[in-house]
């Protein structure tokens, strides 16, 4: 496709985050797309899972109906009402396909919409605002999700156009996508962030909804190719899922043979996404569990004993 056409391609985006310093080299901007094939129980971005726009309701910011009723006045479906504390409540069964006038009217950002169709041109104009920072730091654009390659046409158009404009790119993938798609994207990006969550397919399926066969297969093919960009493999360490010696050892052993350009990082579980489940009237399935700091550190030791300085430590 020509650059002219690429620039017009649209994607469903739920966030563009500046000054990201933990997702690829240098100072970066992350573009988050909506839609994911997995349903990880610990997911910290629940708004990223479904493809379509979603109305979120943050009661903490609501001024209360005694002070403000802008949303009530504009809802065409009668889906908005007051809860016991006179704060906004969305009746999800009535709320449906509409342009979310309520969120537009809300002055307090209590009602917001996750997800908006945006063109490659629009997204890149935001990304390029920080170009002066990429120059110095070796940073650039990181395309993330959801699973960004689910929106294949948009992702490819964005990466092509970014490359044309000399914006360095990275993609963050869960690997659960057709090989051809992954392969195509890998030819365009400068860095890859690849999630490996568990080597045991049964455990993987129980906590993400899908087995890991395709992910592992994709990884092997990708890492085996010549001219593949550097890959940073990442494992979120999740209590009662993979926060044990055996699980981490298995991943590290799996990675050991892929020497060229494959490094590894463990990410500690955190609960910062919990609130967003409530905004979407969903229940976070992880409950109150927390990751033991010492255990996390010792799991890093384990991985380091196998991978040496290919392990990127986070403490």
């Amino acid at each position: 496709m020509s650059s002219f056409e690429d620039r017009k391609v649209q994607g469903m985006i739920f966030n563009i985050q500046k000054y990201s310093v933990h997702d690829g080299p240098g100072i970066r901007t992350i573009v988050f797309t909506k839609g994911c094939p997995l349903r990880c129980s610990w997911c910290s971005n629940p708004e990223s899972q479904e493809y379509g726009p979603e109305l979120a309701c943050n009661k903490g910011r609501c001024l209360g109906f005694d002070k403000c009723s802008y949303c009530l006045d504009v809802c065409p479906k009668g889906a908005i009402g007051a809860d016991a504390e006179n704060l906004v409540h969305v009746n999800r069964s009535l709320c449906g396909d509409c342009p979310h006038l309520c969120a537009e009217a809300c002055p307090a950002q209590s009602l917001i919409v996750y997800g908006k169709m945006r063109s490659v041109e629009d997204v890149l104009s935001v990304v390029e605002q920080d170009a002066v920072f990429y120059t110095r730091s070796g940073g650039g654009l990181t395309l993330s999700g959801g699973e960004p390659l689910l929106q294949h046409d948009f992702a490819m158009a964005l990466l092509r156009e970014a490359k044309k404009r000399r914006v360095r790119t990275a993609i963050e993938t869960c690997g659960m996508i057709p090989w051809e798609t992954l392969h195509g994207a890998s030819r365009l990006v400068n860095d890859m962030l690849f999630d490996l969550k568990h080597m045991n397919s049964g455990d993987h399926e129980r906590h993400t909804g899908m087995g890991n066969a395709r992910i592992l297969d994709n990884f092997k093919r990708l890492a085996g190719l010549q001219n593949t960009p550097p890959i940073l493999v990442r494992t979120p360490v999740i209590p009662d899922f993979n926060d044990n010696e055996e699980a981490i050892r298995a991943i590290a052993e799996f990675l050991r043979p892929f020497k060229e350009g494959v490094s590894y990082e463990l990410l500690p579980y955190h609960r910062l996404g919990t609130q967003k489940y409530h905004f979407l009237d969903r229940i976070p399935s992880m409950g109150e569990v927390q990751l033991d700091k010492k255990r996390f550190s010792s799991l890093q030791d384990t991985a380091q004993s196998i991978l040496g300085d290919r392990l990127v430590r986070t403490d």
Binding site: K18, Y19, S44, K67, Q129, R136, S137, S144, G145
Partner: protein, 831 residues
Amino acid sequence: MYDYAGCDCVSPQEQRLLESIEGKENMFRQTHPRVFKMLERFDGQKPRIDVERALYFTQSMKETEGQPLPLRWAKALMHIAQNITVYVQEDQLLLGRAGCDGRYGILYPELDGDFLDIAVRDLPTRSQSPATITEEDAKLVIEEVAPYWKGKTYHEALSKAFPPEVHKLTYDDPEGLISRFIVNETSSFRSSLQWVHDYEKILKRGFNGIRREAEEKLAALDPMSPVDNCEKKPFLEAIVIVCEAIVLWARRHAELAYQMAEKEKDPIRRAELQRMAEIAEHVPGEPARNFYEAVQSQWFTQMFSRLEQKTGTTISNGRMDQYFYPYYISDMNEGRITEEQAMELLECMWVGMAEFIDMYISPTGGAFNEGYAHWEAVTVGGQTPEGYDATNELTHLILKSKREFPLHYPDLAARIHSRSPESYLWDVAETIKDGSGFPKIINDEEIVPLYVSKGATFEEALDYAVSGCTEARMPNRDTYTSGGAYINFAAAVEMVLRNGRMKKYGDQVLGVETGDPCSFASWEDFWEAYKAQHILFMKTAFIQQYIIIQLRARHFAQPLGSAMHDLCMKHCVDLHQPRIPEGIDLGYFEYMGLGTVVDSLAAIKKLVFEEKRLTMRQVLDAIDANFEGHENVQALLRSAPCYGNNDPYADAIGRDIDRISVEFGKAYSKELGIHNDVRYVPFTSHVPFGKVVSATPNGRTEWFSLSDGSSASHGADVNGPTAVLLSNYNTKNMGMRERAARMLNIKFTPKCVEGDQGTEKLVSFMRTLCDLKLWHVQFNVIRKETLIAAQKDPAKYRNLIVRIAGYSAYFVDLSPDLQNDLIARTEHDNM
């Protein structure tokens, strides 16, 4: 995808605090035993007022009435040098202080003598920067000092000299003691603007060298010339006297050290005292011969300078890693000193700085400089006068000391430029990450070309030293010392909304009666009304400055500072005179509340005039009610574009506002004979200035602090730190030269700069700041939780150091208002 977020991460400073709460010893105590011992002696002490300087100064001034001012000042310094108590402190390796043991402050009755009697009674109990005074000393002030100065001080003369229309925007009382906090003059609570001496000259030539120069010039005067007789002769005599005075003062220290050495039983300390005495006999009269002598010579010079006058923000220290370097490296090469010994000497100096408290007696001065503010700016890094990188081993040693020395002294400034070595920037970044807010970053790429455009040579501009909070001085070319106006432009917005009035001051018309804002048909009408208020404030500030410049020379002289200045010596003119041939007068006025004003105007423009989601009446009603019952209007106003987000809508307004300031400066600076340029550096004054401004259209509630410097309004910068930098860049009028410093505060969580990766990214961040030619940035690396905990439990957190406004202070020394202001600053993370 899974976000990156880690375990709890704290800065090294927070770690040390947590350890001290657990009762563990500071990890650096072992390697710095001497300075820790000295520090423990005054830890947590409230400063005491020492009245000797005020007393001897006053005694001498009584005797010399009618004589030329520089001469009177020199004689007063000689009287002080002869009589003031000299001290040799336990464990200390350096000699020279301006008052008693421990934390102390001294008085400058030439500034505030007329109300000192009242002030000394209030000092111990006032909320901002309190101090103690003995009953005996208070009596001396009340009976022997204060009465002489009634009717003679500068601020009394100034208050009388202002025309009524200027007076009413400046002061809230007829005597001019209480500020209006609208167009605030700052020339009366300090003897001068920030200043930095050419210390190198003293190290190389000594005061005896300067004295001889003055004597030769005296001998060469035209005996028939009236100018030579009336102007140059007394000036040069003053130089001779002041050079003799400082040498005499040093020798009195030498004598005392000899006496104590004789009595000393410990042979190690006896040898130390012996050496201290020998050094004090030699410097600062003669040139320094080694590192120890250089440090002692510099210290005598800056302490005597503190006795000479109250330099705004404390006298700065200049490019310490440059002028000490030749002595350091030759001592190191010859094996005469170790790194540890050199660091110990420097830290003995930091201890001396920490004991001296720069007291502000007037209520306005106190509000400007909360938490015992101090900016003795030690400059490191930057470029040589030839334009090469200037960093050296001493640069790194000073940075190391900054990480290990437990107090917020000295104020440290790191100059950076486009070719600053990676090793230097890493060291700077590691120091910032320690979390106490040091060093502040000052950018050569903005300052050097700007100063050249204002008339300096490249050599002079490349050799600038950071002075005070964020300013830069060329110590032999700069000649301007009058404090400039701090202008509350948020009040201009309020005056548009209230037809020239302010809620705080009732029906009194203070500004321009621009009409009922509900009658404005378009945004242009509103903008013109703002502009009218803005220009009225500028006009007032420039009239103030004109009068200030005329008056000050009759009240202040600075023979010691003049002795170190090439141009003063060449032309035989005191540094406080308004016209010094060949000098460059870099003055400035302060734009207070940039974020507050931009956000307010953007909200009005967008919501009232463009989208028409609100009527002007609704906005006014909401503001009158301080948003109570109008929370929806407040929320809507807050949702408008804000400064600090790299939002072209808001930034364009910011640039237009800046444009009014620089254009006015360009038009009328010439009449003042100075560069009177716009600056965005509030110290802590955005808090008291906020206290006179009612609710503003950016959703800010009444009396809350204004936005500070060129930082965004509290919590308004939601797009991260890169956007804050870009907004700064976007709001400058780069095509014009009428700009001075811009102060920028950025708060990072420790997590955001964690590990080598974090350091690397902080370095790139600073390099980009350099590319963007932003003047200054300073960082707080601290968790909000720590600040909140410290506010609740001050006793445990009394050693917590935070960055405020070009300086760092103990968090618990700050007023609750300023503490809240700090907590409310947006914390940048990367979740």
